[in-house]
């Protein structure tokens, strides 16, 4: 139920039958795009589960999530730097 892998559509094999080829890390597999809204396009990123493209991956949302996490990381690093400085100052 949980193994969903992000892969990129690299080829439309059969537009009518909604069959495409998805690729991740150099591995390709035929996937059915029957569950995707609208037409599948080469270059789109999808979540693959048991040979089906379950959903598209929203690249903007992914970037937002990473940005949020990265901001947290930066804030953390700044805190650490402050602590280090004050420790050195006190020493």
């Amino acid at each position: 139920m949980c193994l969903g892998i992000p892969a990129q559509l690299v080829e439309i094999v059969d537009r009518k039958a909604k069959v495409a080829k998805a690729e991740i890390g150099g591995v390709r597999r035929t996937v059915s795009c029957a569950l995707l809204e609208g037409e599948a396009q080469v270059g789109e990123w999808v979540l693959v589960h048991v040979g089906f493209a379950l959903d598209r991956i929203d690249e903007e949302q992914a970037a937002e999530t990473l940005q949020l996490l990265s901001d947290m990381g930066e804030a953390y690093e700044r805190e650490l730097a402050k602590i280090r400085e004050s420790a050195e100052g006190a020493a």
Binding site: M1, C2, L3, I5, K21, I24, G25, G26, V27, R28, R29, T30, V48, H49, V50, G51
Partner: protein
């Protein structure tokens, strides 16, 4: 000895008992079930000082000469796969068992069980492959046998090889030689062979170029013999992968190995295929790789020796030996936590969950 071992660990050390009534594929996967079968059934009847260590080869003395002696049965489907076939596997697998025992392979024997209906062209291809592998490994096939079984009873072709090697005087290997602080080195990328074969079977419909790494690792092993006593232990991580082989080490030595996940070398395509199938590369078979445990002070030298050879270009340190917890293999995850790397139960199976 550490205190407070959990019940789980005690389980591992109890006298082996075989409860199964029938042999299943799990017994052949190279993990706990295989080990149990060997210890509870084969050793019970055949046990003797030469066999009991259950090393890759038996070491025997003939006069003042030390010899290594080993055998391997080879069964693989499909017979031909990218990077090799049952023939090259049969030669290299046995040569490698000799090599990791610190010996130079001299001669091989090869016994064939052919299934009625096997195409002669296929057999010719397999034998040509064996000849090629033997040439590359510097050995000859000195004895052989052929049998044919009825259609439906043979799996196409099975090959059993045995080999004799001359133990190199410079080395003295064994789990008891390993010390805390020693470094664990692998000669190259993990999981290539097992994934190549799994994908070649075709039922997973994955398209990717992954080749088996089947090769003789004797030159790699030999390049380390000069380390003498500082070379503690050698193995080739075949069935069950790096994880299973290192578990055998920690169990036999009573020490602990801590692996660094970030240091594990895995090809991108192998990592991706494993990700899709939910398989851990640590448990996937290798047929052309070496694991060496080396004294810390000589690890860099060992790496240089391995990297000087094309097969060892990707050699790297993947972990270190620690005194405890006894008998365990641990992994420092790339994310920052840690987990135990247990011994495989059966063949790694693809999963969807």
């Amino acid at each position: 000895m550490s205190e407070g071992r959990s019940e789980t660990e005690v389980q591992h050390r109890r006298k082996p008992r075989l409860r199964d009534e029938r042999i299943t594929l799990v017994h052949g996967a190279g993990g706990k079930a295989t080990r149990n079968l060997v210890e509870a059934l084969f050793l019970e009847q055949l046990g003797n000082p030469l066999l009991e260590p259950l090393g890759d080869s038996a070491l025997l003395e003939v006069g003042s000469t030390r010899l290594a002696f080993t055998t391997d049965a080879h069964v693989v489907q499909p017979l031909f796969f990218p990077g090799g076939d049952i023939g090259s596997l049969a030669v290299n697998g046995t040569v490698n068992d000799i090599a990791v025992s610190g010996a130079r392979p001299l001669v091989l024997s090869a016994a064939f069980v052919l299934e009625e209906g096997l195409e002669v062209a296929d057999l010719r291809r397999v034998v040509a492959s064996m000849a090629e592998a033997a040439r590359a490994a510097g050995v000859v096939v000195a004895a052989g046998d052929t049998k044919v079984v009825e259609r439906g009873r043979g799996d196409g072709l099975t090959v059993t090889t045995a080999a004799i090697g001359l133990v190199d005087e410079r080395v003295s290997l064994g789990p008891e030689k390993v010390r805390p602080g020693d470094k664990v080195i692998v000669s190259g990328t993990l999981g290539d062979h097992g994934m190549a074969v799994m994908i070649a079977r075709g039922n997973l419909e994955l398209e990717v170029e992954i080749e088996s790494d089947s090769a003789s690792i004797y030159p790699l092993a030999e390049s380390l013999f000069a380390l003498g006593e500082d070379l503690r232990w050698l193995r080739d991580p075949t069935r069950g992968g790096l994880a299973t082989t290192l578990n055998e080490l920690t169990e036999e030595s009573g020490l602990c190995v801590v692996l660094d996940e970030k240091a594990l070398p895995v090809r991108e395509q192998v990592a991706a295929a494993c990700e899709i199938l939910g398989i851990d590369p640590l448990y996937v078979a290798n047929e052309g790789k070496l694991i060496a445990v080396v004294a810390a002070g000589r690890a860099d030298e060992a790496l240089a020796s391995l990297r000087a050879h094309p097969l060892g270009a990707g050699a790297c340190i993947v972990g270190e030996v620690e005194p405890e917890p006894e008998g365990l293999v641990l992994l420092q995850t790339a994310f920052g936590g840690s987990r135990v790397v247990d011994m495989l139960v059966g063949d790694p199976l693809p999963r969807i969950c």
